[in-house]
Amino acid sequence: MWDNLSLGFSTALTPENLLLCFIGVLAGTIIGLLPGLGATTGVAVLLPLTFTLDPVSALIMLAGIYYGAQYGGTITSVLISTPGEPNSIMTTLDGYQMARRGRAGPALAIAAVGSFFAAIVSLILLALVAPPLAQIALKFGPPEQLALVVLGFVIISTVSGDSQIKGLLMTACGVLLATVGIDSATGTTRFTFGQLDLLSGISLIAVVVGLFALGEVLAQLSIGEAKPIRTRLREMLLSKEDLRRSRAPIMRGTGVGFAFGALPGGGSTLASFIAYGLEKRVSPNRAEFGKGAIEGVAAPESANNAAANANFIPTLVLGIPGGATTAVLLGAFTLYGITPGPLLFEQQPTLVWGLLASFFIGNVILLVLNLPMAPVFAQLLRLPYGYLYPLILCSSLLGAFAEENAIFDVWVAIAFGIVGYFIFRVGLPVAPLVIGMVLGALFEKTLVQTSSMGSGSFGILLDRPIALGILAVAALLLVVPAVLARRRRLRVAHTSLVSSESKKDTHV
């Protein structure tokens, strides 16, 4: 492994590749900053620019765009409550609240630190376990993916603020929204109302931009213009307490992100959701989640980056894309005449290890660029809101358009901006609706595939030990907290009964 890594670093550390990595990371960060554009669009749009480069250099630059965009999406999540990608949704929950409290700098900084740590650990794990892990991933079929999505729903049910029922209601609404369009299994059009633009479904980006960016602006306008957030320099920097609180969430997020990111077909999307939900369950500061807990930023951000790297396992070893962006990168592989697969590590070690080493270098560049820039980005919030929100409106509407070059998506964003405003006024949580859309699409796909495999019966799940294991974990996560909570309530009731009886005895 060390020989391979030294080969990789010697490939990645040439001046040309370093420059391309830097350009990729910078371009990716800028692209991720723009609401509506994400890593997938960035890689796809900038792919033609790399045709004149040799394959290793081109892939290094494209990979830099990939994880640079992850961090760019984090910046908008924290500063203006607009996730750049579905993976950044969970960061919005606490990151934006931290920004409202004048702690945007620490939020951005811990995202950079967590992402860096996750990138390094996942790179080492990639180098160690990529081929054998890929063989396990091969065993992941629709039943296992279905079980995983069920686990995701269970864990996400904790991400609902104070009311689980409201969260589940919004999740169900998201699942319903995901059914709009043509059903891929049967070709049936559902809820399109005769609109051609709805045949491919409702744009997730337009919904995210509408709910989070436009909805938040409308909500802020209705409660009066908030003062620009003024913070002292030391409040914009990470404190020892921030680092102490973030240590364990970063490690847990990294583990969750790597495990789920290595799975083909949507595992990386689940990673940040599950990392947040898990952290909320185990953190000693769980009462602060949703109100600006730094753990709520550290965990999902680490999970994102670990998953982004782990996504390359099914991509490189099996030739199966781990997610949308790696699907585009897979296309790039094909354009350069490279065939991903089990033999890639043996036949093209320079390319593979050079690419993996560039992940490390790219994340160092990200950290060096963004850690000192975190307080600078946070200064944006000092702009009077009357100037800031028109810019948010513009970039959001343009971002909604840019995904599919469709003005219809602008209308969708505006409609969901109004929906988001009403959701805010009524006190319902927003994030579960979007999570429901993402998970709902995955859930239906795997449900249909699993039922087809079993000819209508789900008994096939009983023959799949991995799927059964995951469902067992989901069941435990549902049942155990409820049982423990009931026992706690009984204990409290018993204690207060004993205490009141002993007081009566004393009086007598």
Binding site: A172, L218, L391, I407
Partner: protein
């Protein structure tokens, strides 16, 4: 007058019923026994109806709570942070302006429409000086043009006026 929350849950109940009925019409199960195209809409519709009704009952039972949040209450809760009295109508004005902007995109082009949005919001809604409003609008359009059109090569609609603007 029913509270905002009650209205919201009633609307969601209606949506859930609609989804369930249509889901059944799309076929719940295929002839082969596999899950049909109507299963997910119907299942999510049933869940939406059930949970909305539970929440409606809770709101009706609780006394005075669950009115949703009014703008005045939110502003009072965060009084220290608010330097401008709540002007809820601003939200509706901005919604109206976004609708007009979307309609103008096909006529004037996307960037000019967004530029006008910025100028009107800053100058009229936020009551800043018109000079500043125009300046912010121009800078916004130029930056968006450079980033989206030139750097990223995203083709932006130029409307009926084509390349004139």
């Amino acid at each position: 007058m029913p509270s905002g929350e009650l209205i919201a849950y009633a609307v969601l109940t209606a949506v859930g019923v609609y989804a369930t009925v249509n889901g059944v019409s799309y076929r719940l199960v295929e002839p082969s026994g596999a899950v049909g195209p109507g299963m997910m809409p119907a299942a999510s519709g049933v869940v939406i109806v059930g949970l909305s009704l539970i929440l409606m009952v809770r709101v009706l039972r609780s006394s005075g709570a669950g009115r949703g949040v009014t703008a005045e209450e939110l502003a009072a809760a965060s009084e220290d942070d608010v330097i401008d009295p709540p002007r809820e109508h601003r939200a509706w004005v901005v919604i109206g302006l976004m609708v007009v902007t979307a309609l103008l995109m096909n006529v004037l082009g996307l960037l000019p429409a967004l530029g006008i949005l910025v100028v009107v919001v800053v100058g009229f809604v936020e009551r800043r000086s018109w000079t500043r409003a125009v300046a912010v609008g121009l800078i916004t359009v130029v930056v968006l043009y450079l980033v989206f059109d030139q750097l990223l090569g995203v083709p932006l609609p130029t409307g009926l006026l084509g390349g004139v603007i």
